[in-house]
Amino acid sequence: MKLKSMKDIIIKGNLISRELKVLLYCYILANLVNVYAIVKYNTDWIELITWQRFIILITVIFYIVTVIIRLVIFGARKLISKTTRANTNG
């Protein structure tokens, strides 16, 4: 896709940067959940390392949940905004 201007590059860069941050927060949260589980069930701390593949899977699930939630919020906002404009113009 041909970029229209420099503005497009920056916006794309901001988007990627934001999503990576969300992914990082999800990863941190997944690890915190693992810490909680280790403490609660009194298992070995080595699971922080040995169960990383599973933690990554949970991270992806958390991320997908945030995408869904944000899409719903975005969709709801757009709907509200359209309704408001219609009422104002009407």
């Binding site: 959940v33 909680y36 589980a37 403490v39 609660k40 069930y41 298992t43 169960w51």
Partner: protein
């Protein structure tokens, strides 16, 4: 069958020192210093007397793997020419004889002989060979009668030559390790040993059609003049193992047997059942039959803390260890699934990891690749090189054979039978 070299055999078997013939003492002897009369660089020359099924097999093993131990077959003897020719074809460099006496007189290079003749003809060549200064490996059981068995023992002690009896389980790593578990107390108090050997076969070997008179010669295992059938040919192995477990011999035996299926003119039973009792009350329960092979063979050593199944290489604890706990994150998700999502109405929890509920025991040895047949020659070669028997080894074979014959006597008489003092060889211990 894969063969282990000596180092692998010692590594797979096992260790800690004790007295008499325990697995540890046997292995320490084989691993320890050697006081060789025959240099390790010199070959040991063996003659094989009896080149039928078993003799041919042992000759084959020595031909294929004897270089590891420095042993070779240089003479073969059999009264039955087809058997002799068959083995000679495999070892063409060996001299051949039809009369073992001629072999012993002429083959002066021999250091030992392997005797695989029919059971009733073990004693004479064994005694003659030992009196000529040769060490002897004789297949089990020792002989057809108690008196002949004792005569072999007397000659062994008198001449000081090694007399190894073909009980290969004494050199089988899983049996050696298993015995260590028994002696270390892993099984607790052993109060019962059970063994069975089931086959589905008439046990006949083919007789040339034009020579029907060879029936009793070729199928000697089926006739009481030459063999006790299932007892001497099969049970003797497990009787030896049971004595080895208890480090003792029974006080009596009772039994029964019959020809219930193979009614083809044979004289030996085709199914037998025996109970041997030891002085501490332990029972060794044995049965053998040749009309059903569903259960094969096994010897089970049963103690109040654990069990061994030696033929199938298994060890079981009465209190198995608890299964390992799942990881914390897994337990958390399992709880969430149960408490938040509830049970899925169709099917079970979709991803609930299955925890094994059946205790499958553990293997006695990791690699179960030998039955001790070849490893017996490790001991025999050592005895020849050092010109002395391995302490305790002969007694295992002797009492295994004696109590086999007493079991037959119990079946024949319907009585509870014990061993007469005259057959006790403890008087020969120096």
């Amino acid at each position: 069958m894969l063969q282990q070299n000596r180092r692998a055999f010692l590594k797979n078997s096992l260790l800690a020192g004790t007295a008499i013939l325990t697995p540890a003492s046997l292995m320490n002897l084989l691993a320890g210093e050697q006081n060789n009369i025959i240099s390790p660089n010199d070959k040991i020359h063996l003659g094989v007397i009896g080149t039928g099924s078993r003799g041919h097999r042992l000759a084959y093993l020595i031909k294929e793997f004897g270089h590891d131990l420095g042993i070779e077959v240089t003479a073969l003897c059999d009264v039955y020419q087809p058997n002799l020719d068959n083995t000679h074809e495999m070892i063409p460099e060996a001299k051949t004889y039809n009369d073992y006496r001629k072999m012993l007189e002429e083959s002066r290079e021999l250091n030992g002989v392997i005797i695989c003749t029919p059971l009733h003809f073990h004693a004479q060549p064994t005694i003659d060979a030992m009196e000529m200064g040769l060490h002897v490996f004789c297949e089990k059981a020792m002989e057809r009668t108690l008196e002949a068995t004792y005569a072999m023992a007397e000659a062994h002690y008198r001449t000081g030559k090694a007399l190894h009896i073909g009980h290969q389980r004494l050199f089988d790593p899983k049996f050696l390790r298993g015995m260590n578990k028994v002696y270390q107390g892993d099984l607790g108090i052993v109060t019962q040993i059970r063994a069975y050997w089931h086959r589905n076969h008439d046990w006949r070997r083919p007789v040339p059609e034009d020579q029907p008179e060879l029936e009793r010669f070729i199928n000697w295992r089926l006739y009481r003049e030459y063999s006790c059938g299932l007892l001497t040919e099969l049970a003797s192995h497990h009787i030896q193992v049971a004595n080895w477990v208890k480090k003792d011999i029974p006080v009596d035996v009772r039994g029964t047997g019959s020809i219930s299926f193979w009614k083809d003119g044979r004289e030996v039973e085709d199914n037998v059942a025996l109970i041997f009792t030891y002085k501490d009350g332990t029972q060794f329960v044995y049965d053998s039959m040749i009309q059903n092979r569903r259960h094969g063979l096994e010897i089970q050593v049963l103690g109040h803390k654990g069990s061994l199944e030696l033929e199938t290489n298994n060890f079981f604890l009465e209190e198995p260890p608890p299964p390992p706990k799942p990881a914390g994150i897994v337990q958390l998700l399992q709880d969430l699934e149960e408490n938040v999502l509830g049970k899925v109405p169709i099917g079970s929890s979709s991803w609930d990891p299955e925890v094994a509920m059946t205790y499958k025991g553990e293997s006695i040895v990791k690699e179960n690749i030998t039955d001790g047949t070849w490893e017996q020659f490790t001991g025999f070669a050592k005895a020849i090189r050092e010109d002395k028997p391995i302490p305790g080894l002969f007694e295992e074979g002797y009492y295994g054979s004696i109590w086999t014959l007493l079991g037959q006597e119990a079946i024949d008489t319907g009585q509870v039978v014990g061993m007469l003092e005259k057959f006790d060889i403890r008087k020969f211990r120096r």
